[in-house]
């Protein structure tokens, strides 16, 4: 494969895609550095898949411009397809082929030159830790191994950028951590990871995260900075004997934005610390005399729900109905 020279892994400006009158992607601009692990998050129907399809050269944008691995998303979409790796949580492996056979199959698809085939195969097997399972039927492998094999197959052709679609959903936490260690090693070799996911557990592994909602990018930043700076609202954990009753009691108080039960406590999000104190006083006088409140650092999910609700409030009249 030819060596590409480029500065940014992804660099797009005002990317737009319409389907009839529906604006699926509304002028999204973003830059992803080489060797960065970038998270692309948003609810179903937000425009995530459409954006990724444009970045992978599968869909042509209706507006905007940009490059992926230095290649033009409009003029060079065919070349882009050959230079990216793609892996989804639905491991696209053949269960009734052995580990080696799957790798050989993908070597063929990616047209790995004959003299490099063996070297790349050994590399993939070593990386996935499958030395002892080369001739095992893929269907018999445990989830974590399948996932690492799938990763190996997706990068046999040494792409500079790898698209990962919920790559670790459903695997046990140890395998998940090992997988992200591999992605992190790749990132150190300047291979960019572009991750789409719903799950906080995956989002936490990213260097930076973009949140997409209704075709627009409504937040961008490192997980840590999103948690501390982006949240203009206060988050509290309130523990009491009956959190379910307490949630109902405070949910509609003025200034309370959200209250959601979590087992033996509930998360309260308010517009100010004073509102929270008032809510606590209200609970003490009625529904939960034993309530104890503690300020917490919100989870990414708390932040996203809060950002999305803020967006909806400022765009009143937008239909709530999903089609």
């Amino acid at each position: 494969m030819q060596q590409l020279r480029f500065e940014k892994a992804v660099d797009v400006t005002n990317l737009e895609k319409r389907f009839g009158s529906f604006v699926a992607v509304n002028r999204i601009s973003l830059t992803v550095n080489r060797g960065e692990i970038f998270g692309f998050l948003g609810p179903n129907g937000a425009g995530k898949s459409t954006t990724i399809r444009m970045l992978c050269g599968i869909l042509t944008p209706d507006g905007g411009s940009g490059t992926v691995a230095g290649l033009d998303v409009r003029a060079q979409s065919e070349t882009i397809k050959q230079h990216i790796g793609y892996m989804s949580q639905k491991f696209s492996l053949y269960e009734d082929l052995t580990v080696e056979e799957n790798i050989d199959f993908y070597s063929g698809i990616y047209r790995i030159p004959a003299h490099k085939k063996k070297e790349r195969k050994e590399w993939a097997i070593g990386m996935a830790g499958l030395e002892r399972h080369r001739n095992t039927m893929t269907g018999f492998l445990a989830g974590g191994w399948k996932q690492r094999l799938s990763l190996g197959c997706a990068i046999l052709h040494e792409p500079p950028i790898l698209f990962l679609d919920e790559p670790t959903s459903g695997v046990d936490p140890i395998s998940r951590r090992r997988f992200w260690d591999l992605i992190s090693d790749l990132a150190m070799q300047k291979i960019t990871g572009f991750v789409t996911t719903h799950f906080r557990e995956e989002a936490e592994y990213c260097d930076r995260i973009a949140l997409i909602y209704r075709g627009e990018m409504i937040a961008l930043g490192a997980p840590r900075s999103l948690k501390s700076e982006e949240s203009r609202h206060q988050f509290f954990d309130v523990s009491c004997r009956n959190p379910l009753v307490a949630v109902e009691a405070v949910r509609n108080l003025p200034g309370v934005r959200d209250a959601a039960a979590f087992g033996t406590s509930f998360h309260l999000s308010t517009e100010s610390a004073q509102v929270a104190q008032e809510a606590l006083g209200f609970l003490h006088r009625g529904a939960a005399p034993d309530a104890v409140m503690e300020k917490i650092i919100p989870s990414l999910e708390d932040i996203f729900v809060s950002l999305i609700e803020t967006y909806d409030k400022s765009h009143q009249g937008v239909s709530e109905v999903n089609q």
């Binding site: 179903n44 989830g143 459903g170 046990d172 140890i174 557990e201 009753v245 109902e248 087992g263 999903n322």
Partner: protein, 333 residues
């Protein structure tokens, strides 16, 4: 809680599993689970794909018979009284079991027929379930044309059409986005207030935090059972959160000096599971200082359920990752 008389099942017990096993050939899908769930609990069965969650669900819903052991659901034996079990429970499988080419209301009708709900009760029940799940405006829409979140809510409504007192949900929020997930949990909370016992399985540990009690399942065995807070207390040692300007290089260095599995990188942060936070904080500063990596902060943070699960899995697998591992042993790596 003690049973006053074994012949008279305790009315407060919703589900009881006694050394329940189910083997498929040599695969031990469910390997000796004993567990008691009281009425009004939201119990979460948490584990990765292949841990045995769905098989456990199928045993408890009388869809499949155990290889050995016993389970009682709503006071009925899942083998000898399978029909009574099925009548007293609601069950939502991963595929929600909906007919895509039937409308919302027709799906409800189908399940009402299946459970023999009397015709005169149906209209009121449907109204209640539809408003409860915010599906009233869509009652004539084909199920196949609903969004993922709405399908999930319809699946739940169908499982509730005969007013069961115990509800089984097999990974209900799989493939559903966070907004719908929240919405769904709000509905579960409402059900819980009506004293419906909920037995829910999930692969997501953050979701498990919403349950009143959880069981961590791995390879057919329960590793731990308790409230989320109790489970977190099972973790010996603490988690250090390290922030530096070059986290990837820092992780590589730390993995040389600490057991590799006790170090995890999360984007811009590193988590380090240690036994003694003060000693280890000094170690971190020393190791990274020697390599001229600026440490922006090291602090001790409460473990997440994932941290606890990882440490338990490692102990079961006999891996090096144990929180009580000595610092010296860690350096032998």
């Amino acid at each position: 809680m003690m049973l006053s008389n074994p012949a008279q099942p305790n009315q407060d017990v919703a589900i009881r599993l006694d050394a329940l096993r189910r083997y498929f050939g040599s695969t031990k899908a469910v390997d000796g689970i004993s567990l008691t769930i009281m009425r009004g609990e939201i119990f979460g069965l948490v584990g990765p794909d292949g841990a045995g969650k769905t098989t456990t669900m199928r045993l408890l819903t009388s869809i499949m018979e155990p290889t050995s052991g016993k389970a009682m659901v709503g006071g009925f034996d899942v083998v000898n009284d399978a029909e009574s079990v099925k009548e007293s429970i609601g069950y939502m499988s991963q595929k929600f079991g909906l007919y895509q080419d039937l409308s919302v209301i027709e799906n409800l009708d189908f399940f009402a027929d299946l459970y023999g709900v009397p015709g005169k009760d149906r209209a009121a029940t449907y109204d209640r379930l539809l408003s409860f799940s915010n599906l009233t405006p869509f009652k004539r829409r084909l199920a196949g044309r609903l969004s993922g979140g709405m399908k999930q809510k319809l699946g739940l409504a169908c499982a509730l059409v005969h007013a069961p007192s115990i509800l089984f949900l097999d990974e209900p929020t799989n493939r559903v986005d966070p907004l719908s997930r929240r919405d769904f949990w709000r509905i579960l909370t409402k059900l819980h207030r009506q004293n419906v016992t909920i037995f829910v399985s999930t692969a997501y540990l953050d979701e498990a935090e919403r349950c009143s009690r959880i069981g961590l399942l791995h390879e057919g065995k329960l590793l731990a059972v308790g409230t989320p807070a109790e489970i977190k207390c099972l973790m010996r040692g603490t988690i250090l959160e390290v922030t530096t300007s070059s986290p990837r290089t820092a992780v590589t260095l730390l993995k040389h000096e600490f057991p590799a599995d006790s170090v995890a990188i999360f984007g811009d942060r590193i988590h380090l599971a240690v036994e003694n936070s003060e000693l280890s904080m000094n170690d971190v500063n020393r190791i990274l200082g020697r390599a001229k990596i600026a440490v922006e902060g090291v602090r001790s943070i409460p473990p997440t359920l994932e941290d606890v699960f990882v440490s338990m899995l490692a102990e079961t697998n006999g891996s090096s990752y144990q929180l009580n591992i000595s610092r010296e042993a860690g350096k032998l790596e």
